[in-house]
Symmetry: C2
Subunit: 461 residues, 2 copies
Amino acid sequence: MASTESNPALSYLKSHQQDYIKELTEFLKIPSISALPSHRIDVRNAAEWLAQRLRQAGVSRVRVDDTPGHPIVFGEAITDPAKPTVLVYGHYDVQPVDPLDQWTNPPFSPAIRDNILYARGASDDKGQVYMQLIAAEAWLKTAGLPVNLKFLFEGEEEIGSTHLSQYITAHQPDLTADLAVISDTPMFAAGVPAVCYGLRGLAALEIEISGPAQDLHSGVFGGSVANPAQVLSTILAAFHDDQGRVQVPGFYDGVDPLSEKERQNFSSLPFDEQDFLQQTGSPKLFGEAGFSTLERVWARPTLEINGMWSGFIGEGRKTIIPQKANAKISCRLVPHQNPARVLDNVMQFIQENCPDTVRLKIKRQEADPGTLTPLDHFATQAAVKAIEKIWRQPAAFIRMGGSIPVVVTFDQILKIPTVLLGFALPDENFHAPNEHFHLENFDKGSQTVATLWSLLENMDA
Amino acid sequence: MASTESNPALSYLKSHQQDYIKELTEFLKIPSISALPSHRIDVRNAAEWLAQRLRQAGVSRVRVDDTPGHPIVFGEAITDPAKPTVLVYGHYDVQPVDPLDQWTNPPFSPAIRDNILYARGASDDKGQVYMQLIAAEAWLKTAGLPVNLKFLFEGEEEIGSTHLSQYITAHQPDLTADLAVISDTPMFAAGVPAVCYGLRGLAALEIEISGPAQDLHSGVFGGSVANPAQVLSTILAAFHDDQGRVQVPGFYDGVDPLSEKERQNFSSLPFDEQDFLQQTGSPKLFGEAGFSTLERVWARPTLEINGMWSGFIGEGRKTIIPQKANAKISCRLVPHQNPARVLDNVMQFIQENCPDTVRLKIKRQEADPGTLTPLDHFATQAAVKAIEKIWRQPAAFIRMGGSIPVVVTFDQILKIPTVLLGFALPDENFHAPNEHFHLENFDKGSQTVATLWSLLENMDA
């Protein structure tokens, strides 16, 4: 533990370990469920608790800023304007707790079993927010922070971050930074700490095909007019070939081919296809030909039907030609695809595949690009080194198939890259009963973050 | 009106015309809505009214038979066991009346405007049941019936004839006949009385495609497993080519090619494609290549998606890979297709088009054949002659695209053909507000039926 000895922040974290765990359980007792109006005051209490605790840690200019929804906690610790500034983002709101009877301990009565802390919010994301807080405190109470830190903790992440981008736009001067760090993602697996450098984007639309003025009797009219459900099926079926490749012309424009290096990196990860398959519950894995499963979910764009409906969907039978048929479609996009162009292409494809025997309406929805923080970015490399120092093993470089809208906001409004450095585990029941957080990862996580700040000190050098 | 003079039944009908219309309005005042439990007693009252009125007409052995649902009225008038026996079927129950505020006169307060009788049940089917009753009475009160008649009037037609085939099976000896006549169909158009000689059958099934164990996050898993909605769409899309022809192998097995004579007959009917299109509200007519619209709906089998659903169908967006996708399918069949075989073929087609990346369940449902009463059948010819006598114009020969299950029951259990001889008009709002019946057609209809009985007297000769 040579590195620990030489780093005052790490020593501080070690010596306060038990107190911190105790204090985290206090934070977790506040039922800050953002989705439920009955918990509105609890959400505010969690914000106030966090603000107070930031002040106590030595963070200055701490504010609880109102929004039309739940408040946002802001704070900053400016050591030296000449040093790099990192914006730390997290959220203090949590998911609802149903079904309650499946919890071993009540969700807001934290309990520790086998060095695992069980409570709603333990890993998503209060535990990781608190981990960031104590990593800063460990420096503030000892040698002082090696970098400037700004904190942005929201209370609406679990309900779609409704007011966040509006807030960021309005408070842009406060939020100026060189880099964002988010601890709201999992490690690749138990014992495999990871830096996530890529996320997919999202583009969505809705299709409505209408034919007759109302549902028609399929005896009286069957055979004489186009059936909207049939037409919709034909359009949806045309989206993919039987090898899983999207058939929309131009869909793959801008998609970076996977480099040999990245493919090797993906394939070197301890990824178990059988485990993954079991997680899905599907009979078989299936995806775009020519790519591995990780490549498909991390680095290839997809087009999915999220929902569709037409005609009679109740019990029993109603022999009709439905009046209309609808589908909700969304595409996961990879970096360098143009989201607006993707939507244009998908819309054109639908139009071209739609016969004049029906009427077509397309409702275009928002589109966010995928994001990528270059592997060779100073901050990515620093995060890797911090992991190696604390975990004494190489860091995994991973991407994620999902989208984190705030990363796009940071990119588009604040013009800063984001490093995703999370220490939850993928199976810690984030939105389910018995959410938990391995305290070993909580400890190592706070040490990794504290180490990262010292490694970033010379980022601009 | 030479024929009227020489036929005592027609004279009787004419001389009682005003009384009959008055009495029909009494029948229509009984709100015999079979679908609503609150009208249970009204349905029974209508049955009792009808039974009493049959007795008064001179019909013997009149019974109101209980079923687990609404009662069935049976009666018979046996003139001479050596003469042909006709089973007359109709229903005395009616549809609900919502939306009530769209009625000009209240649905159970009949009103006559411009010689049109407005009331719920006026044309569907109380008016036509009563028309049958008085046609029999006109003979019973004068020269006696030229044929034997049996009456079978049910009170559950509008709720799917739940207990009818069970009743027919149980009372088979009572219902022995040479022929059934049903007046519950429309004429081809105003001024175009018709004999309907063919109906389509029905075969239905439900498909369920399931993939993941639950809805999956389309970011985390998108691209790695088959999407059940996508698979279902592909199967549904494969059912037809772009010319509207069903692609299921064997689907058209047994389908009679349309004879030149029948095609000429169809095309000679005063059918207005623009009117028909307007009825549908669709932007364009569309159907199997090589056939006219009437041929498509009357004499060609179809396969329709009646409903489908998958994933998230609420407001907004939920980026998931749905756990499952469902569809309800039904085929309209024409005579000489084997319904069970059609279902076999459709099931096999689905199975062959379903990849092993998902799980498939098919729920096979009942299948009824199409029915056809030969054009050269004595009864068909007699109906045509009766129309010509009363209407002084040729009868139209028509088929119908829908199914009338009781015709299949008569065919399969009683082994008798059915002649469909109805005098409603297609636009008389059968299941809608302001249902009505043109009294001119009511008069001519009762005369046509009375004439038919005399023409059938020598059927077996």
